[in-house]
Amino acid sequence: MSGTKHISRRDFMKVTTGAIGGIITAAVGVPVIGYLIDPALKAGGKEAWIAVGKLENIPVGTPTPFSFTRTQVNGWERTGTSYGGFVIRKSADPTDIVILSSRCTHLSCSINWKEDAQKFICPCHDANFSKDGKVLDGPPPRPLDQYKEFKVDADGNLLIFLKEG
């Protein structure tokens, strides 16, 4: 046996036991990581066009509220998520529209339109937004979010593009 590496029976058993143990651990451990992080890897962000009302019924100049609910399946349960916002037609032109989300950019409370004050007010921390969504007063870090993509279909319905997640 000179010149060849000699492995004792004891060392062979140690190495073999370690190797088999390692393989078993990896065979269970690697899939388990996938199993645990799976919900984070699921492709979210469903997209849809949502009708918010007939354009002819929305007055020019006054913010008009709209709301809708989307249902999502989370594992074994369905969860409804409510969305709301305001359509502001600046003129009779069907492309001259601002569509704001009613979710305050501070801590996600729902804002309300105050006709007499001509501004949006958040009930939670008295945030004030102008008619086009700019921050006038209060803690919000940025203007109200806008649904920038919208269209009017052949029947005169105003649709907004929603991307979830």
Binding site: V32, G34, Y35, D38, P39, G75
Partner: protein, 219 residues
């Protein structure tokens, strides 16, 4: 570098000493039948690990138990594998524990001074069967529901105390949400805690007494 870290740890933990006492202890002539206890321990750890991971998605409520398992099987990456290992591992564990008991009986390894090891082993066998019994209900499908109905009914035939035992097992006179919840609690907390404690004593006794020789002709 690693040598230094190892030495630092070894000086404080005594790992080398532990290794020689726990794993490098003298054994009678090697025999594959002597590995069944270790195999049972391995299966217990495997069941524990896969069971913990199953609770990440499983819900023990009649409304969602079945759906949550459908989700594990079809919705989660490798959910089928984790549940599959837990499902087949359970059957295998009962089998291996039982053969382990037969081996100890046939080789008369239960004799002095190892009677207590045997008695605790009986407890471990009963607890393992209890794990199988409580785990069987958790999928909350037809088979699980009726198997538990029948088995708790059998427990109810005990003279005098039967009705009381049945109500304790079911958490009331009928199989209900309470049954599922208490079987779940027994399956993931009560029985595993008892198993871990008894396994600890069982292993301590094995290390204390060493393993028995197989009997020879003169015995």
């Amino acid at each position: 570098m690693w040598q230094k870290i190892y030495q630092w740890l070894d000086e404080r933990l005594g790992m080398g000493e532990m290794y020689s006492n726990l794993l490098d202890r003298p054994e009678p002539t090697g025999n594959w039948w002597n590995t069944l206890g270790s195999a049972s321990l391995f299966l217990f750890i495997l069941q524990g690990a896969t069971g913990i991971f199953l609770t990440v998605y499983y819900t023990p409520s009649p409304d969602h138990a079945y759906d949550s398992i459908q989700y594990i099987m079809n919705g989660v990456a490798f959910g089928w594998l984790v549940r599959g290992i837990h499902h087949w591992g359970a059957t295998l564990m009962v089998l291996v524990v039982f053969i382990h008991m037969l081996r100890v009986f046939v080789t008369a390894s239960y004799k002095y001074p190892r009677e207590l090891t045997w008695l605790i082993g009986v407890g471990l066998l009963v607890l393992t069967l209890g794990m199988g019994f409580t785990g069987y209900l958790l999928p909350w499908n037809q088979k699980a529901y009726w198997a538990t109905t029948v088995a708790t009914q059998i427990a109810g035939t005990v003279p005098w105390l039967g009705d009381f035992i049945l109500k304790v097992l079911r958490g009331g006179p009928d199989l209900s949400a309470l049954t599922l919840q208490r079987f779940f609690a027994a399956h993931i907390w009560i029985l595993p805690a008892a198993l871990v404690a008894l396994i600890g004593v069982h292993l301590y006794l094995i290390i204390k007494h060493g393993e028995s020789h197989f009997p020879v002709q003169e015995d």
